[in-house]
Amino acid sequence: MLRYVSRRLIQLLGIVFVISVGSFYLIHLLPGNPAVVILGNAYNPITKAALYKQLGLNRPVIEQYFIWMGHVLHGNLGTSFISRVSVVSTIRAALPIDVELIILSQILALFIAIPLAMVSARKPDGPVDRLLSAGSFTLLSVPPFIVIVLLVLLVSIKIGLANTGPSAYVPLATNWLANLESLSLAAITIAIGSFTLYFRVLRSDLIATMQEEFITMARSKGLSRRRIMWRHAFRPSSVTLLGSASVSIGGLLAALFVVQYLLAIPGLGYELIAAINTSDYLLVQGIVFVVSVAVVIINFIFDFIINIVDPRISRE
């Protein structure tokens, strides 16, 4: 176990290093002199000198990386020359919104997926299972950017529910109920994507588990159906569920970006797209770095949890 964790930890450090090099090198993908492109309208000799100093642009590329990395380790991702706000403070303001959206949507998705998968697995290929499977399969083919547009069309425009349309975001500190309302469509959209995955994975896993001998054993002991489902079948299957949750994190991010962009919810996704549109490259670089590292660390933690639940994996 310890060996496994330490090996994974080294892997984690390696991938974080790769991410840092990649994020650093992004600004060198820009055509022409990066200073001219990054500064845009703010370009003048003074800002140019400031940027050269901040990024060490007149030094060799490898040295620039260490300058950048030194700043990052001190918690400094630079200051945007467009908005004049430090990248870290923008990220700090936006991140809680993403966390809230992810928590809301995942609770919603699991809350629906787990009972439905159990109902499905009780009688595989029965009418209920067929209906649910076909439904989840259809949902799989509807991308989040269509779900959110149709939801807005239906709920905010046709029905006219308050606080649900674009730019209706209310901060949590102002009014928690209005905040939930303003995040509801976004959370539902993200949840639909996660639901289809969780349902399909859990259903096939439960069906496989229900054929195992220990289930027959539990049945012959006369345990109730519900107890067998939750205590005996769901427990081993939850490992698979955890695994698929960490695998699906990329799809989750894509959905997150799309809904934030459409509804103007000022999370990291919205800030990222806004920064791209205003050519605020330092902000883009900072967000890309933070989000990537966060995802890799979350994956690592998931891996760790899966190992505790099912120690067989680390022995492979």
Binding site: I146, I157, I249, L253, V291, V295, V296
Partner: protein
Amino acid sequence: MSELFGAPETTAHPHVEPPEEKEPLGVFFWICVGWIGLNLFGAIFANVLPLQNPLYQNYTSINAGPSLHHLFGTDDIGRDIFSRVVYGSRISITAGIGAMIIGFGVGAPLGMLTAYRRGRFDTMVTTVMYALLAFPGIVATIAVLSFWVPRDLFKIIVVIGVASIPIIYRIIRAATLSVASRDFVVAAKVQGASDRRILFKELLPNVAPVLISFLLIGVATVVTIEGALAFLGLSVNPPTPSWGNMINEARTIMAQNPWLVIFPSVAICLFLLSLNFIGDRLRTHFDVAEVKL
């Protein structure tokens, strides 16, 4: 780039002996194949078909509903939506196929080779690929596309294609591994068959079902990603129509003209549904089982 494939990891269970009788693929399967064929036909021959110019702005009929003259109606500056949907499919389909050519072109041979050879090379490549899988490919894609300006379809294909290599590598390697230790491969080795012969004649036919079904699901996934990128304004620039940017442009006026959102949405959903269904059906048909992670 694990999000490229919504489906869980799978592996092949090749048949030891050919099964006696297979369940037919079903009517819906062939309807889906036909629909994909129709889409491909429209995308390839869009210039030759009697379609209206997708960029022509006819100010005498703005925001018109569906009619005989404009099958899907017109948009806010009088462009024919039907023609724009057909032309829009070109971008999505080209991106899907192009990215998968790169992804499978690199990932599949590499996965087969490492699974067959094993040894230190396999350990090295697999460690790197699995580490890359932890990396959020969608963020990398958006990042590279936002800095690598000006954006065009070619760059989008390259970025998505490269980002898809690790997951394709993992799928194909797992599929090959389950075949590589079987008796007929050992027998071929004992008989002195060359590596190339074993790879192409013994392994490839058994990996092919996995390859084909995931190729289709992969194309569907790339179409979704391209759509999302276009929706975020990171794909080809308007006025060139693509399914994603049509939906993005239409959303601001969807209260006045909901058709503008609905038609490209339906087009993209039907296309994805067909591809996913064909891929899924082939997978069960060839008995490719889903396994635990």
